[in-house]
């Protein structure tokens, strides 16, 4: 059973390879009657797009999306929405030298073993290029969530290696995030991050870091115990993003250092609404959203593609040296921000339909 789709009621099927002719997503279950145009989707893709700044890969893709089904006269029809993006800058010749070897910490070895075949060009299906389809679908989900609940999803780069910003998640704005190319809302820290990335890039090396995310105006009631708790669905989505290594929500791992008396979020009533005075629960209690903001963090490993010489084995198991050239991200974090937002949107939209039905 393939893993090409995600979601149960708002379901996205992702297809395409890094260097194939096109890639895309089919969305099933989008509510009918919602205005939808390319203008709702393209901005998210532009934020994920390669070539957008000096600290990301220089592959040139416009990632121009087309809506080829499911929308008539500018409105969704309630049936399958098909989104397509043409690959423009495939350079398949670049990859001939790695066809016979397994690059360390890539999918070369595991894909070859699992499928008995793999698409060498650009990593084929294992490339993070496939997240473009996720982002396109996520933009549709985000629109549904905004229309139904006014939900806002904002992610940002919290750390690059050991350079970290600590911010009140509730106060981070999209404008702050987009104010610099590394997508860290603190301008000074952003500067330091950018310098570090450039420095490491010149060494042919790479970096990882952490993306934080805050989701505001979530209605009470999203999440389905016992196995489809909201945090379980979010964890699933986040760990499906290329290069992610960890997920925590609310107090997360550091919450394990607290005592129960410190960690419990006390309920109060404010303006007729029941809230909590702290939010160690991260907006989710017993698997169900409680109306507070949902906060979570996602760890991303340093990019596996180095421009340094490396050793590995080839298909015959012989030790070989190799060195790649070309266009690669020295650090995925800035481009991971819209991906994290998109995956969060897919999860929340699915749970919104599960709780509130499929009417707009």
């Amino acid at each position: 059973m393939s893993g090409d789709s995600i979601g149960k009621l708002f379901k996205v099927t992702n297809w395409g390879e890094s260097h194939g002719p096109m890639l895309g997503a089919v969305i099933e279950g989008c509510p009918a009657g919602m205005e939808l145009s390319v203008g709702d989707i393209q901005p998210a893709l532009d934020r994920r797009r390669p070539g957008q700044s000096k600290i990301v890969t220089q592959r040139k893709e416009s990632d121009t999306v087309q809506i080829v089904s499911g929308v008539v006269e500018g409105k969704t029809t309630g049936t399958a929405i098909s989104l397509i993006m043409v690959n423009e800058d495939q350079k398949s010749k670049d990859y001939s030298n790695i066809a016979e070897l397994y690059r360390p910490s890539h999918g070369d070895f595991t894909y070859q073993q699992k499928y008995g075949i793999r698409d060498v060009a650009g990593g084929g299906r294992s490339s993070a290029r496939v997240t473009a389809a996720s982002v396109a679908a996520g933009a549709v989900a985000e629109k549904v969530l905004f229309q139904r609940h006014k939900i806002e999803i904002i992610a940002w780069v919290e750390s690059v290696q050991d350079i970290t910003c600590k911010l009140d998640p509730e106060r981070v704005t999209r404008e702050q995030v987009e104010a610099n190319i590394v997508r860290c809302p603190d301008p000074d820290i952003a500067e330091a991050m950018i310098s570090r990335i450039e420095e490491v890039r010149k060494q042919g090396n790479t970096l990882g870091g952490v993306v934080a995310c805050c989701i505001k105006f979530v209605p009470v009631g999203l999440g389905e115990p016992v196995y489809d708790k909201l945090e379980a669905s979010l964890a699933h989505a986040m760990l499906s993003i290329n290069a992610s290594k960890g997920f925590e929500f609310g107090s997360g791992f550091s919450g394990t250092l607290m005592k129960g008396s410190e960690h419990n979020d006390q309920f109060i009533q404010q303006d007729g609404v029941i809230k909590t005075t702290s939010n160690y629960s991260g907006g989710v209690q017993a698997g169900i959203s409680n109306g507070m903001s949902i906060n979570f963090r996602v760890a991303f490993k340093p990019v596996a593609t180095l421009l340094q010489k490396q050793q590995t084995v080839n298909k015959q198991g012989e030790t070989v040296e190799y060195q790649v050239r070309g266009r690669h991200d020295p650090c995925v974090l800035p481009r991971a921000v819209p991906i994290v937002e998109a995956m969060a949107a897919l999860v929340l939209c699915d749970h919104s339909l599960r709780q509130y039905g499929n009417k707009l």
Copy 2:
């Protein structure tokens, strides 16, 4: 759409409440022809069972499992396996004082809002008691995995609050884990953990911590990109456990501090098998198992049920004080160990069927 089931090919449907007459699990998709008896399941339940030691809840449940379908003459038939456990020590009277209020960081508020009704006795469906059904089903999965691949799953308590043991995951044995009541394989650290738990319990307070897990002898090829990567499925399963707050695998969050040149796991061939010299990948590359051990960690928050006086609001939003008495875990970590193992087994068994089909 309910969240009562997990898995796609090895599917488990969980039913029952903390204080209902019984609880159970139905397993669909278990390979036919496997020997299966209560003796394969009961030991895991005994490790999760309340009342097993002085540092866990004193509720008395034998959690005796019955296999009531899907097995004939001691062998699985390939059709639905139904497992049932009778609740023996329900004390529903204990809970009348909390029926009208929302306990902090419990599911009282969110269940009431989501469903418009909730089972007050023992937290009903939101109780960690439902993990008994997961553990029973997980024991069956574990047997399938051992029969097909010799897979071994070993979890242990790595930390309680700030008391931490650092061990080579490859060398931890089930015997070490079971040698003490806190299930920490380091006997000295275990002693310290037990003392801390007892101390905090006497204060009516509670603790959290981290469970680590190592899965050995995993075949190459488990995991389904792009959205059902093995780590995504594991994250989903772990975050569905009551009180869990985070998941990381391989290098996890600390891997974000490394450079790519440090983090990449170099391939070598050893005795005809391709391995990696380090395992920051945690046994999974590009979402697919690579044959190395799978390592991950799960954070558990301090238990929400305190025996201290607390403030909260009632259904009318009025601030009220309350204090619970009775039988509660001061720290879920020791009992979380078999639950983590069971959920890991469910995930791997599902992916094993996806990759290798349903024949034993």
Copy 3:
């Protein structure tokens, strides 16, 4: 992937064997807050129960249902509802003589080949006894449908072999159906059917026939093109019933003899509601209910278990003679009536949740 469950939002998992200790169903997705008691379920089971009249099997089962989860203080909680029935009259010794051979037109051969193992006693999982669990779950679905939409589902025996009644489906009442033991609403035809069944039973032979069903007060909008059309879901459910051989709705096979000008159902407006003057569409157009009654028919083959001597092969492929004794239905039609109704209820309830959400 097992086939033990049906439905996507109102999902039923069926477990148990003909001669196992018990059988049951788990219902996921039932709306919260609905009053539900054994009294809502038992009457349907009583109509399906063996031993209810002289023309059905004389196995004695009370089929007493217990609700063991998902209901608290008489109301559904929105989480998994577990229904259990204890088998009382297993006579496993009866079946020893057929363990080594394959009875004609039973599941003996195919189960053995598919699973490599089979439960010989009473046909195990292949027995129509498993429909008891479907009927129990169907009764819950029927209650949901009545509460939400006032939907009424009435099935009846339209023919036994060549004895047929032709009735206006809209006018058939449950009282007429239950007025005689064969469940044919026309008393004279019913008499003839009963005589025929008794005559054939005395010969140790069996009969088949057709069950018709009419579903009234269906709201417009149930059914999900392109592959989950309402008629597709109904066909799926009906062909999953033991011994069924065909399904047709509206004009069905005889509609193929008409011209389009005769077959088209003309729309009119009546009392502010758009209806059709005829109903060859059977209440479904383009896969979606149109508000007219849904009419369909299901064919059931003559029962495979004869009390005559028969020839077959054993596991070694050798030709053998055998003769069964014991308790068998000479004709499944009377007991198929509540099963058809239950399966229809499951389908409509699932589609109702898909269209109208999970709120009561």
Copy 4:
């Protein structure tokens, strides 16, 4: 939850509208390593294509398929296969006169009520044009089935209105079926059918009929009791085809006239293989294929689009007259043949993966 996809392990997601820019299918779960090119798919599309003869619609579509993902260097990679067809002959202007009314026995009324919006042009998503995507995907399934099991699927027109051919299903060949434009293997009956269709077409009227199908060389063991019996899956697939009204397999409705002693298929052993001397079971016993040929029949109603003047109501419920012009099928039967084959292939391929795993 949308109904745009079908299948569980071999899953097809169908997208596109009659007059949208393109339509297509995404296939998940196709085994890796199979040679696949446009040449494997186009022939099936050519058989379904409009404009292929004088007795079908004259809309001109080449239905040229592109494979845009999931195949590298001519072989399937095991990941999502995306198939795309561009619509070439949309004449959206033709439909302006019907935007405000509900054509009888079409989806106009039900789509409008269900979704609150509909694509008027060519019926949008309710058009049988969406079966092109099913046929494209079905061709891939057919190749998988042939590679794994040598399965052959042959459908033909058995009747048009009351003109019927009765043939031994085992002996019908694809060559006979394709020898005439109506796809009836009996040349004399075919002639009569063609004359009848032409005659009725000249009257602006339409016809229905029956497609029969025989699937040979099916391995024992396909089908998953209790709810995913092979016949249940086939019924589901067949009733999801536009204009279908009924499904029967093996003896079907006429089997209800037989006694058990006549209907039981006696087992014998022949050349070491266990077979049955008759095949009233239609190749399926207890929901599982028994190795005999699978035989079934599908009823199709007369086409709803007449070129005669008709009465109906508009959105306001007012009675209106209308008359369509343009390109329509007077009888869908000839074009339904490849659609029935494709849907059967999808079902069998899904069940083949369920029983035999995903390896080629």
